[in-house]
């Protein structure tokens, strides 16, 4: 057993971090939220060049994957930098496209970054139909229903999200049937894992920015970060994130449903807790849209319910344990 990131993983994370730091992702995210996709697409191409989407695409279709650990490492960085777009949905689409015909036709462009995908997951419980993230920007729109996987012909109107960088669309009914009985459970694991990793990155960014802020901002003649009430809340934030991290990486290693659900629940709770703490510790400036912190604050909320709420994930942990496990 060697539960430690390999040097290649660390180097991969560091190179993505450097590339994204130089890319003005906050500015890109703001444009994306206004429906201006040019800079976002250019960034997407660079992320694809770094190999990120190829990690979800099998080698047979011009990808490098599936490589969940690398994917998790990459998504932490994408979350840390608040990269906009249907990132999770594109790798989820790669996991859904398993029939040789459609896979051969659609996957190479996803791997290379030439196209982006979105996915709407209809389940029996959704009354008004599922949303597809960035349905207006995506080139490949997949709708998953109990009956099968379809290539949706279009979308019906766009709704805003709590996270201004996310835009929600309902996919049009009908369209080409790509497969009956798509590998939905496996794809759901990919979606949850990537969301968990992205949320972890969002939480880490929130903590990092908040630590920097409370070190600078003075009140009562001292930095607010020297007050114990502030420090302890930030310490708890750090602890929650640091214990979510091994769950995310461990889930990527095993891809066991309970592990992935545990990772999603704890990373999203930790990120959401980080958002609440970040907002509180910033005071009013944290509540302004102009200040970049808002990009991560709202994303933490959106990711929390995307691809399974914490409570649904907890239920999945218990369901996977319905039979006693031998350890």
């Amino acid at each position: 057993m060697r539960f430690l990131l390999d040097p290649e993983h660390r180097a991969f994370a560091a190179s993505l971090d450097a590339m994204l730091t130089a890319a003005d992702t906050p500015g890109t995210a703001r444009e994306w939220g206004r429906g201006e996709h040019a800079r976002g697409r250019a960034l997407w191409a660079r992320i694809a060049d770094a190999g990120v989407f190829a990690l979800a695409v099998p080698e047979a279709y011009e990808g490098l994957g599936p490589r969940p650990v690398d994917l998790a490492v990459a998504f932490v960085e994408l979350g840390r930098h608040a990269v906009p777009g249907p990132l999770v949905e594109t790798v989820t689409a790669a996991a859904l496209l398993r029939e040789p015909g459609p896979a051969k036709r659609l996957l190479p462009a996803l791997a290379s970054g030439a196209s982006m995908a979105t996915v709407a997951y209809e389940d029996a419980s959704s009354e008004e139909g599922a949303f597809a993230l960035d349905g207006d920007a995506a080139d490949v729109r997949l709708s998953v229903t109990p009956a099968g996987l379809r290539l949706a012909p279009g979308y019906d109107g766009v709704r805003p999200s709590l996270d201004p960088a996310r835009r929600l669309a309902r996919l049009s009914a009908g369209g080409e049937l790509l497969s009956v009985g798509p590998p939905a459970p496996r794809a759901l694991l990919t979606a949850r894992l990537a969301t968990a990793a992205q949320a972890l990155g969002v939480g880490l960014a929130l903590l990092e920015r908040t630590v920097a802020y409370v070190g600078r901002r003075t009140q009562f003649g001292v930095p607010v970060g020297s007050f114990q009430a502030v420090k302890h809340r930030l310490a708890d934030t750090r602890i929650a994130l640091e214990f979510a991290r091994p769950l995310v990486l461990g889930a990527a290693v095993t891809m066991a449903p309970a592990d992935v659900a545990a990772a999603k629940a704890s990373a999203c709770e930790a990120a959401y807790g980080a958002a609440r703490t970040a907002l509180q510790a910033h005071g009013a400036i944290g509540y302004t849209a102009e200040y970049d912190l808002s990009l991560w604050l709202t994303k933490a909320r959106a990711l929390r319910t995307a691809w399974g709420t914490p409570d649904e994930c907890r239920a999945a942990v218990l369901a996977a344990r319905a039979r006693p496990v031998s350890r």
């Binding site: 420090k231 302890h232 629940a265 704890s266």
Partner: protein, 379 residues
Amino acid sequence: MDLTLTREEEAFREEARAWLAAHVPRTALPSLETAEGFAAHRAWEAELAADRWSVVNWPARYGGRDAGLVRWLLFEEEYWAADAPGRVGQNGIGLLAPTLLAHGTEEQRARVLPPMATGEVVWAQAWSEPEAGSDLASLRSRAVRAEGGWLLSGQKTWSSRAAFADRAFGLFRSDPTAPKPHQGLLYVMFGLRAPGVTVRPVGRLDGEPTFAELFLDEVFVPDEDVIGEPGDGWRIAMSTAADERGLTLRSPGRFLAAADRLHALWRAKGGPPETAGRVADALIGARAYQLFTYAAAARTRAGERLGPESSMNKVFWSELDIALHETALDLLGARGEAADTAWARRYVFALAGPIYAGTNEIQRDIVAERLLGLPKGRR
């Protein structure tokens, strides 16, 4: 990065599991916090030691198996899953031994470690004093130079297991003129039945008496029982406390086993949905702690030092432990208050977690200042 066990690790786990299946007492031993239970647990330590299972990660020459941290973790998982007895030797094994391995002399290691491994000598930790709790460095018990050694005087308190233990290790002020409270301290081992020592047991919240106050009146200790250089006691005590607080104070196996028991209890109660989330959180927390510890063990094996990040462990497991046991008592309903059940006993013990080994407030300060780099505030 992987989680698959090597053939050797798998074989080690199997060997431990088989040994435990054959040896763990069928009926639980009496509480180790009583005289009778203490003796029974001492005998259990001897049984473990006879087949080299008492200190698996120690060097073989002192009674261990050179197993390393990962195999120690696997051993602990099996140990707690088998519901084996609590470890009466834990203070010595978890705190003094690593200190001696890092800072002791070969003579001290050869003399002290083997009888510790067999339970023949059980150790108590004598750090806290009535006026020195979180502010441990303000301690006032003194060590005064004497012919061939030192004379210890003063008062120690909250010393776990000292009522029945044989020896203790602790910090004493050897140079009252040192400019800072952290300086001029002596780290020393002494006998609890030596002339000049009075041990007064103190009942704990759970009513058990092994917790004790120690009164020392010119207790002689020879030079060979001083660990490291006189005056350097603080650094020595802290260097190992921080490393070990994270990894070896509370192994994940304990919480994995407790979470499994909680899950079984929940299912036996028909899986009430209103408690489902809390049961899931216990399972998730135990898994998180297991993986976090694997990662820490892997980093140590790669030559990294852990230091202040162990403070994160301390807060995490102590809160997990309480939440988990609270959930169990709530599931038991009005019967949860019956004090003679294993759940209730473990619950009351869990309540001490955020207090001992440095309170969680102190740990949060360490995380905030040493890991996050936030400014020091008023103490």
